[in-house]
């Protein structure tokens, strides 16, 4: 088994970053699976097989959404941008640009580490050792 989700030496990474990386890897895998099922369903002719794969793809939708929600809870800036893009009407690119600008506008040094302006980014500590 490899440790491909780490871009830096794992022993140098804090536990919270390792967890974040694992969930990012999981998110990627779920997205891949969704895409694979989409292709398989597109070429399958057996209706029963299609029904099974649709059900399986539904599981991947759920897994992807759970991974995403976890990551958004741990990354305030990502969450803020996502709130400006997800489930919003109108032009997606426009919404994205606006959300990014609103999140980082005027932050200067305050935007270090991708955190919203001034936040220490502590959040939940459930699972911390002590």
């Amino acid at each position: 088994m490899g440790f491909d989700q780490y871009h830096e030496p794992p022993e140098e990474l804090p536990p919270a970053t390792r967890t974040f990386a694992r969930l990012c890897a999981s998110l990627t895998e779920e997205a891949e699976a969704i895409g694979w099922y989409e292709q398989r369903i597109a070429v399958e002719t057996d209706t029963e097989a299609i029904a099974v794969m649709r059900d399986a793809q539904g599981e991947e939708f759920k897994h992807f959404s759970m991974d995403l929600e976890f990551l958004l809870r741990r990354s305030p800036a990502w969450r803020e941008i996502a709130e400006g893009v997800l489930f919003q009407p109108g032009d997606i690119v426009e919404r994205g640009e606006e959300a990014e600008a609103e999140t980082f506008e005027g932050t200067g040094a305050e935007g270090e580490g991708g955190l919203p302006a001034g936040s220490l980014g502590i959040g939940s500590l459930k699972g911390a050792l002590r």
């Binding site: 270090e112 220490l120 502590i122 959040g123 939940s124 911390a128």
Partner: protein, 265 residues
């Protein structure tokens, strides 16, 4: 620029990073509530109230033939700890000093962590109910002899099990109690900390501001901490000698399952 006004402070980017790192180091060990209860957010400084899912019927109505009800919400509280740093110390950080006097920041960080712990575990009079206040499980005494802690902690776990509250459980120990446990060794030298950890099957956390100890279920859904603005450092003002800053957060807290915790006095 947001309400923290950080870009108005006479503080360089690298020194802001130093201050933020120092605050994080001081806060994380002391924020006991966040290690044991559900945390949601941060939802931002503009976020003002938590939905409780309840409404109160109104006695009056705008006209005949209709009734009215008003939603109940839990307003967020703002907590702030002010502190001052010497301009000379900030300049020394810019020069690369690694021993700058940041004690006022350390103290403010500790104070706000204590405030958060106290509000969550013991409540805030007239503002919010704490875990210990809400618990129906009263009367278990912890005492002041650490060797005798095992029995009341086990009794607390049994009380939770009898109430149908599943584990794992966490144990929040006040400052004095935590020190006693860490230093304590039972007969035969088996560390008390390890023994207690086996009883609760979960973490033991240092909880400055907590009086005594509290055993809580970690299963989730019992205690809700909602963060508006998470802990942040903001700028108040400055003169030629000092810079006035503050650590601040906004949050609400409510107990959904009072039976899911046992305070040990």
């Amino acid at each position: 620029m947001n309400h923290l006004l950080r870009s108005l402070a006479p503080i360089s980017d690298s020194t802001w990073k130093e201050l933020d790192d120092e605050a994080r180091e001081r806060l994380a060990p002391a924020l006991a509530a966040r290690k044991l209860i559900d945390f949601s957010g941060p939802h931002g400084w503009e976020y003002s109230a938590t939905n409780l899912g309840r409404a109160v019927a109104l006695k009056s109505a705008p006209c005949e033939g209709v009734t009215g009800a008003q939603r109940r919400v839990l307003p967020l509280v703002e907590v702030r700890a002010n502190f001052e740093l010497a301009q000379s110390e900030l300049r020394d950080i810019d020069r690369g000093a690694d021993d700058a006097d940041l004690e006022p920041l350390d103290k403010a960080a500790h104070q706000i962590a204590v405030a958060e712990n106290k509000a969550v575990f013991h409540g805030w009079k007239g503002v919010m109910e704490g875990i210990a206040d809400a618990s129906p499980h009263k009367g278990i005494t912890l005492g002041n002899k650490p060797d005798a802690y095992r029995r009341p902690v086990a009794a607390a776990v049994e009380r939770l099990l009898q109430s149908g509250i599943s584990g794992p459980y966490g144990l929040a120990l006040g400052g004095e109690e935590y020190q006693r446990v860490v230093e304590g060794a039972e007969h035969g030298g088996y560390p008390l900390l390890e023994h207690l950890r086996k009883i609760i099957d979960g973490p033991i956390v240092w909880a400055p501001g907590v009086g005594g100890a509290i055993v809580v279920s970690l299963r989730g859904g019992d205690f809700a901490f909602e963060s508006g603005q998470d802990l942040s450092i903001g700028y108040e003002g400055h003169d030629s000698q000092t810079v006035r800053l503050y650590v601040e957060e906004s949050f609400s807290f409510h107990v959904a399952t009072p039976e899911a915790a046992v305070p040990l006095a």
